[in-house]
């Protein structure tokens, strides 16, 4: 049952140290404001789950919030590396980061299994790749009808899903559109969920292509206009491509990164 609260209150209640947290949004509707609040709240030892870790997890990893990363593509889209992610994996800074990696198809099917109440999902994937050797949540499975060998991936059921959406109504029903990614699956797979929205409205007028998440599968809804920046919310904000380009230089350097976090996250509210 969705409660409409302020973001700090929602995240303090939803996310504990050591939790597995999925913050989804496929290069759109990325819940940056919520990530910043987690950094301010000093969360530690999180297992961060996300198809595309992106700048949002580069920041959480660099800030020392994460013990493990579950992901399928960890770059700065169209720009290059995630330097904080690389520094953690390559040099253990600011701490060692365990890695569990998949392809997009594999990771999204783990969410699908989680959302469906199944312990695994089946796909044509990974055959012949080295991913099967480094990732425990991949296993072979045989079709009981044809004998064909396929791949199973284990279900993902995060402790918490955090997403950003365009709108909610006062009951806490949520509506999001544009590139919809794996947000519905992440919320339905998770034990708890927090949704930040551009605005709370009286009535959710139907929108073509919109995903609707009913209030009774959501725990907290927080009005956070611009909460996806530097990502965007279709119909509300634009992607700040310059930010993504500029992030490359900020994130290459540990001191520059820390200064950025101090100035833009810790000292902001």
């Amino acid at each position: 049952m969705a409660r409409l609260t302020a973001l700090p209150e929602a995240l303090a209640a939803a996310v504990r140290d050591g939790d597995a947290v999925a913050m989804e949004g496929f290069t759109h509707l990325i819940p940056h404001a919520a990530a910043h609040e987690l950094i301010r709240q000093g969360r530690r030892d999180l297992t961060l789950i996300r198809m595309t870790p992106d700048v949002i997890y580069d920041q959480l990893i660099g800030a020392g919030c994460a013990a493990k990363l579950v992901f399928s593509w960890g770059g700065n889209p169209g720009v290059g590396s995630l330097h904080r992610l690389r520094d953690a994996v390559e040099h253990g800074w600011p701490r060692d980061l365990a890695i569990e990696e998949h392809s997009h198809a594999g990771l999204v099917n783990r969410y699908v299994a989680g959302a469906s109440g199944l312990p695994f999902a089946v796909l044509r994937g990974y055959a012949g790749t080295d991913l099967v050797d480094v990732t425990d949540s991949i296993a072979p499975i045989t079709c009981p009808f044809t004998g064909e060998r396929l791949t199973a991936v284990s279900a993902l059921n995060p402790d918490v899903a955090v997403i950003h959406a365009q709108r909610a109504d006062r009951e806490g029903n949520v509506q999001l559109w544009g590139i919809v990614g794996a947000q519905k699956e992440a919320v339905l797979a998770a034990r708890r969920s927090v949704v930040t929205v551009e605005e709370v409205v009286d009535v959710l007028a139907p929108v073509p292509g919109a995903v609707f998440l009913p209030h009774w599968v959501i725990d907290w809804v927080c009005e956070v206009p611009g909460g996806a920046a530097p990502s965007y919310a279709a119909g509300y904000t634009e992607r700040d491509n310059d930010f993504y380009r500029d992030w490359d230089a900020v994130s290459r350097d540990r001191d520059a990164f820390r200064a950025w976090i101090d100035a833009n996250v810790l000292e902001a509210e």
Binding site: F26, A105, R124, G128, T129, I179, K184
Partner: protein, 250 residues
Amino acid sequence: MNDRSGPSAEDMMTVAAARALAGKRTCFVGIGLPSLAANLARATCAPGIVLIYESGTIGSKPPRPPLSIGDGSLAETADTVVSSAEIFNYWLQPGRIDTGFLGAAQLDRYANLNTTVIGDYARPKVRLPGAGGAPEIAASCKETIVVVRHTPRILVDRLDFTTSVGHGDGPGARERLGLRGAGPVKVITDLGVLEPDPGTRELVLVSVHPGVDPAEARTRTGWPLRVAPDLTATEPPTRAELDALRALTS
């Protein structure tokens, strides 16, 4: 960019990649050079081609190539947008997409690809972005085209990690692995075009771009690159191709 400038090696690579889409109905597009080439194809040799991005947009017609795979223009200009689960399960996996466009940090003689790590997996020298959509694009599209810069750091004798399977260890490998698409049919570089030998599946240099010495391509390949006996020269970019490319990138 100066409108009067001649075509660069990069331009030639993009144009050659675009041409590879002539006659194709659908293309699963990665971001970066593949996206530029796919949109150039739409503006030139493949006007009706349906571009599908792994962000879930089907039939995107972006006025300019997007910076990221999730830019607003991809969704706004799409025929439809579907969820991540659907794009992989219903659209990519069943093999209904003609061509997949891929890049890579390392590529071997069988066009297997590495986008995961340089060095040891547990303590990598360089941690690369990882798999993304590539393993299943490589597995399931009816065919794939790989676009890479031609350097011995990329065209290597041995991958540090196999992220996506091309022709595996040679003839019959894809069938044994249950990969239903035909795999890589072309590797397009800034020096020329490589294609798998029909028998051995090893990549062979079949064409060099204007002004490129095949010896240079061999030097810049990490294995002893075979050259096709009927090696051809790539047609230089036409005026129309260059104009369309400039219109997309200016």
